[in-house]
């Protein structure tokens, strides 16, 4: 129950809460006592009561305007996407696929499909994306704080690696760009996966386990991921400006998310 507002319109906030039936019994009785004794307060209450707007009906117009077929299409895509990522039973995958198909057929979600591309909806689990993340997660899970801390690379060597990787990705990977608070860059190296070159920057973290940032060239559209878990590591990936980024580490979800925001900002092209 409401206790009190936190700024200077305290009086009005109390009156509005009273009108909304949100005051605790004690506060309500106290206010009613004051209303009986204070004519200007009572007048203010009456004015506030009169001034209420037809908000519900106004906003309900937005429900009517909702692009329902497209939202059904978005939901169908979400069902398939979620079934790809979650460890699920065969029955659930079938249910998701059937539900997605029904929505697409029945919902007339053609607009959505054209916008997102049908390939996106029916990608199988074994995409480059998933396999790549699995490979990096597998590699990173072999490290702990001590083993990553133990990596010794000379400054000159690291500078040369960053320059080479930066050249490959056509990105500025010089020291200030790849330095983040609370993280120490331990190694920058070139990895290969299914013929694709991947730059991996491996960090030791002051407060958590190892964190890796992988970048690979990837022509095509933009994509945005959310923080997910694999092999006990949290990760997020996104695509922008012809590059694909994967941030993965033994760190809490919010740390990964905040760091990803910072990295995306650094590399906003």
């Amino acid at each position: 129950m409401a206790r009190g507002p936190d700024n200077s319109n305290a009086g009005d906030a109390l009156l509005v809460a009273y009108l909304d039936g949100e005051l605790a019994p004690e506060a309500r009785r106290e206010l009613e006592g004051r209303l009986g004794a204070d004519a200007s307060l009572a007048a203010r209450l009456a004015a506030l009561a009169q001034a209420s707007q037809p908000l519900k009906s106004s906003f309900d117009a937005l429900l009517k305007a909702a692009p329902r077929a497209r939202l059904d299409g978005a939901y169908a895509a979400a069902l398939v996407r979620a079934s790809r990522r979650r460890p699920r039973s065969y029955r659930q995958i079938l249910t998701a696929a059937a539900a997605a198909l029904l929505l697409l057929i029945g919902g007339g979600a053609a607009g959505y499909l054209i916008a997102t591309g049908p390939g996106n909806l029916f990608e199988e689990a074994d995409t480059f994306e998933d396999a790549w993340i699995d490979a990096v997660a597998g590699q990173l899970s072999l490290y702990n704080s001590a083993s990553v801390e133990a990596i010794q690379v000379s400054e000159a060597e690291q500078k040369a690696s960053l320059a080479k990787l930066g050249q490959m990705l056509k990105l500025d990977l010089s020291a200030p760009t790849v330095e983040f608070e609370g993280l120490t860059l331990k190694r920058a190296e070139l990895l290969h996966f299914r013929g694709q070159e991947i730059a991996e920057l491996l960090y030791a973290s002051d407060t958590h386990g190892p964190i890796a940032l992988c970048i690979t060239a990837k022509p095509g559209g933009e994509e945005e991921g959310e923080v997910e878990s694999r092999n006990g590591l949290n990760f997020t990936y996104w695509a922008k400006g012809g590059r694909r980024f994967l941030l993965i580490g033994d760190a809490p979800e919010d740390r990964i998310e905040a760091l990803a925001d910072k990295i995306a900002e650094r590399f906003s092209l």
Partner: protein, 175 residues
């Protein structure tokens, strides 16, 4: 993995899509971004179904998820990519053509409501349109209940054209 929670969400989510989109629209003031938010919300809700407690309100849980995605990802991304925030005038036009049909008065109320600062307009929506209690709204918005009270009072005064003692204050608490 909680199969039962997943099944409840999958069964009830489709009917909630328009309301999620409306919340997304109130936050983003952009129909296409609202659609993206709805899809991201669906994916996250399905993936994290085990975190949903059966017997509690699914709509509240989804509102929290949608808001968190907006705050943590899309909003900052839009600012980063220079898309910025959308002019409230353009909200009432969908797909460049299809005007949202409202009567003139409701349209004016809606337009003025969408011009309020983000914190005020989402609080207004949750309490007065979606029917959340102050306590529930405070929980979804992750603010103290006093902030909910201040925002509602300020928003109501602005919408009615009454003098607000602190009319310019959006009283956003830190974070």
């Amino acid at each position: 993995m909680t199969v039962a929670a997943y099944d409840v969400i999958a069964a009830e989510l489709p009917a909630l899509l328009p309301r999620l989109w409306r919340y997304g629209l109130v936050l983003t003031r952009d129909p296409a971004a609202a659609e993206d938010l709805v899809q991201a919300t669906c994916v996250r809700a399905l993936e994290r179904s085990s975190q949903f407690t059966i017997g509690t309100r699914l709509d509240r849980w989804l509102f929290s998820i949608l808001r968190s995605i907006w705050i943590n990802q899309l909003r900052s991304q839009r600012v980063r990519t220079g898309q910025g925030l959308v002019d409230p005038e353009s909200v009432l036009v969908l797909d460049g053509e299809q005007q949202i049909e409202t009567n003139i008065f409701a349209g004016q109320v809606l337009k003025r409501a969408l011009e309020l600062p983000e914190g005020q307009r989402e609080t207004l929506l949750l309490v007065y349109v979606e029917g959340l209690t102050y306590q529930e709204a405070a929980h979804v918005l992750n603010v103290p209940i006093g902030t909910v009270m201040s925002r509602l009072a300020t928003a109501r005064l602005k919408l009615s054209g009454m003098q607000a003692p602190s009319a310019e204050s959006d009283d956003e608490v830190a974070g």
